[in-house]
């Protein structure tokens, strides 16, 4: 079963691309890209069980801490660098985005939209929001830097990233065109360094 956001990411990856998947989890996305896009490259993951799962999925995975940057990689060594639902759990948000644009020609970033109406509604109701894309209780969430579409786009401007493509999905997995910052639960951005 291919996750809807994985399929969306795959569509943004050209055939035969060199790909780096930051926070590759169990490697399913990378394996999917290897299979369907003939992609090559690496996943990066820090959690031991996920490293093992990624190996099982036939992914070459590097157990290094993303928070320490991507100093192991030279500039422009990948066509696409992916940060799939990992941004919100990073401490050094700005640094990792800059690093992505340094080592890759393009970056793909997906994250749960904090501005999604159900999240807003829960905050209005006086509780921390939970949803399919943000399933954690406030006291055990790995997420430290949640943001909305507008927040993310402001950061892109700040770090000199250009948005090539934005797609927003609703809870049903369908693309949202109308009022995306309100109706979208998951954001997908393809970015590159402003040349």
């Amino acid at each position: 079963m291919i996750r809807a956001d994985h399929e969306m990411i795959a569509q943004g990856v050209a055939l035969d691309s060199r790909v780096l998947d930051l926070g590759c989890d169990d490697g399913q996305l990378m394996a999917h890209l290897q299979r369907t896009r003939r992609a090559s490259g690496y996943g990066i993951e820090i959690v031991p069980e996920r490293v093992v799962a990624a190996i099982r999925h036939g992914v070459h995975v590097l157990q290094v801490n993303l928070e320490e940057g991507l100093s192991g990689f030279v500039d422009d060594s990948f066509d696409t660098v992916i940060l799939s639902q990992t941004l919100q759990a990073m401490r050094h948000t700005e640094d990792i985005l800059r690093e992505m644009l340094r080592v890759g020609k393009e970056g793909i970033v997906t994250f749960p939209n904090f501005g999604y109406w159900r999240h807003r509604w829960q905050v209005l109701a006086g509780v921390m929001p939970k949803s399919a894309d943000m399933p954690y209780e406030w006291y055990d969430t790995p997420n430290v830097h949640l943001c909305t579409l507008r927040d993310f786009e402001a950061l892109c401007v700040r770090i000199g990233a250009q948005v090539i493509e934005r797609r927003v999905m609703g809870a049903s997995g369908r693309t949202v065109e109308l009022l995306p910052n309100l109706l979208g639960s998951l954001a997908y951005y393809r970015i590159r360094a402003r040349g």
Binding site: R18, S40, P48, I55, R56, G58, L62, Q63, F73
Partner: protein
């Protein structure tokens, strides 16, 4: 076949085999060695396409006896028995596994204690210093004789990992996967310093006789003990040592003497003694020098990435957090060199408090990584 009486996962009773090589082997030092013999063991069955062979390279004090035990002694368990066997990470139901004692060794392959056919006395100090590359060439000849052109994997820990790395550079087309565990792209000055103290301990022993102690009917036992004691300190982490031995006085109060008073003293003396009874001092010198010389980047002006550019294998690199002899940073140098060449590499940094010795110990994260990676090799190579 696995004997049902054997403990689960053991390759069971094994026996060493010997191959003689009449054609002299050209060595890095400009001389040739030969004729010579190599002693080795094999586990599992070579498949029809000869695609399922794994070569296991041993470290400083290892041997060809990797797994199983000898018929005459059930306690003679191989040094990597936890890793190799039916159902173990290196699954002998799928792979044909070779362990070989390196040249210069003291467990059956031609070494300094072997008789020189010309003089009919041990080679002693005349035995040449060897390099990791020399060993790889000798291992390749063994592979040729066994009919193996391409290894599914070449693997090893520490100095064994360096041999696996060298294989991918000397014979790039003969290795599909290299598994390099707790190794380094070369020794640091500190590493060489430790080796030099160990060598001085041996060569300054009055029983060393310039390396020709065999003729005198003695061995530089004290030197060898000291060398091993020093080695053991560097194989363990500070934490592991403290946890294992603590600093309790055996007698409860200080003796104000040179007796063994702390557990660690007793342990090191025991390890030193045991080692001096089974290991040849000249072999120790040769092995430590081979470690010191290992530096594939020497030929490329110190540029490791350029040195690794010829490799065609896929790599698994594994390090252990508390290994200070070959720290994770050293393994990451290898990984960096491979990444620079866009070579397929998986890197695992295993959380362990066991220091350098961790590569020999069962650890669930470590073994899960090895198992997963080797299953992948099996799917790829063992059809």
């Amino acid at each position: 076949m696995v004997d049902p009486r054997e403990p689960a996962g053991s390759v069971g009773t094994v026996f060493p085999q010997v191959l003689h090589f009449s054609e002299p082997l050209p060595l890095s030092n400009g001389t040739v060695l030969g004729p010579y013999q190599l002693v080795y063991e094999t586990y599992g069955t070579l498949n029809a396409s000869k695609s399922n062979a794994i070569l296991i390279c041993h470290a400083l004090s290892g041997t060809h006896h990797v797994a199983g035990h000898y018929a005459e002694d059930p306690r003679s368990v191989g040094w990597w028995d936890n890793m190799v066997g039916p159902g173990k990470p290196v699954d002998t139901r799928r792979f044909f596994v070779i362990g070989v004692n390196n040249l210069g060794g003291c467990h059956g392959s031609t070494g300094p204690a072997s008789l020189d056919p010309v003089t009919a006395s041990p080679h002693g100090a005349r035995f040449p210093f060897l390099t990791v590359e020399d060993w790889v060439h000798a291992q390749a000849r063994l592979a040729d004789r066994l009919g193996i052109h391409v290894f599914a994997a070449v693997m090893g820990g520490s100095l064994g990992g360096m041999q696996a790395l060298q294989w991918t550079l000397t014979f790039p087309e003969r290795v599909r996967h290299a598994l390099i565990i707790a190794a380094a792209p070369c020794l640091s000055a500190q590493n060489i310093g430790f080796n030099e103290v160990a060598r001085q301990a041996i060569t300054s022993d009055p029983h060393f006789h310039g390396g020709d102690y065999y003729a005198h009917g003695v061995i530089p036992e004290r030197g060898l003990r000291l060398a091993r004691m020093l080695g053991h300190i560097t194989y363990l982490s500070d934490d592991a040592m403290m946890t294992k031995f603590g600093r309790e006085l055996l007698g409860g109060t200080p003796h104000f003497s040179l007796d063994v008073e702390f557990e660690i003293e007793s342990y090191l003396r025991y390890q030193g003694k045991k080692f001096s009874e089974r290991f040849d001092a000249n072999t120790y010198l040769i092995m430590t020098k081979a470690l010191d010389y290992f530096d594939p980047a020497r030929r490329t002006g110190g540029n490791l990435s350029r040195a690794l550019s010829v490799a065609q294998a896929q790599f698994l690199v594994v390090s252990f957090t508390t290994d200070w002899r070959f720290s994770p940073a050293r393994s990451r140098e290898i990984v960096k060199g491979l990444l620079d060449n866009r070579i397929s590499v998986t890197y695992a940094e295993i959380d362990s408090n066991q220091g350098h010795d961790a590569f020999l110990m069962e650890n669930s994260d470590y073994f899960a990584v090895m198992r997963a990676y080797l299953e992948r090799i099996a799917r790829e190579c063992c059809s």
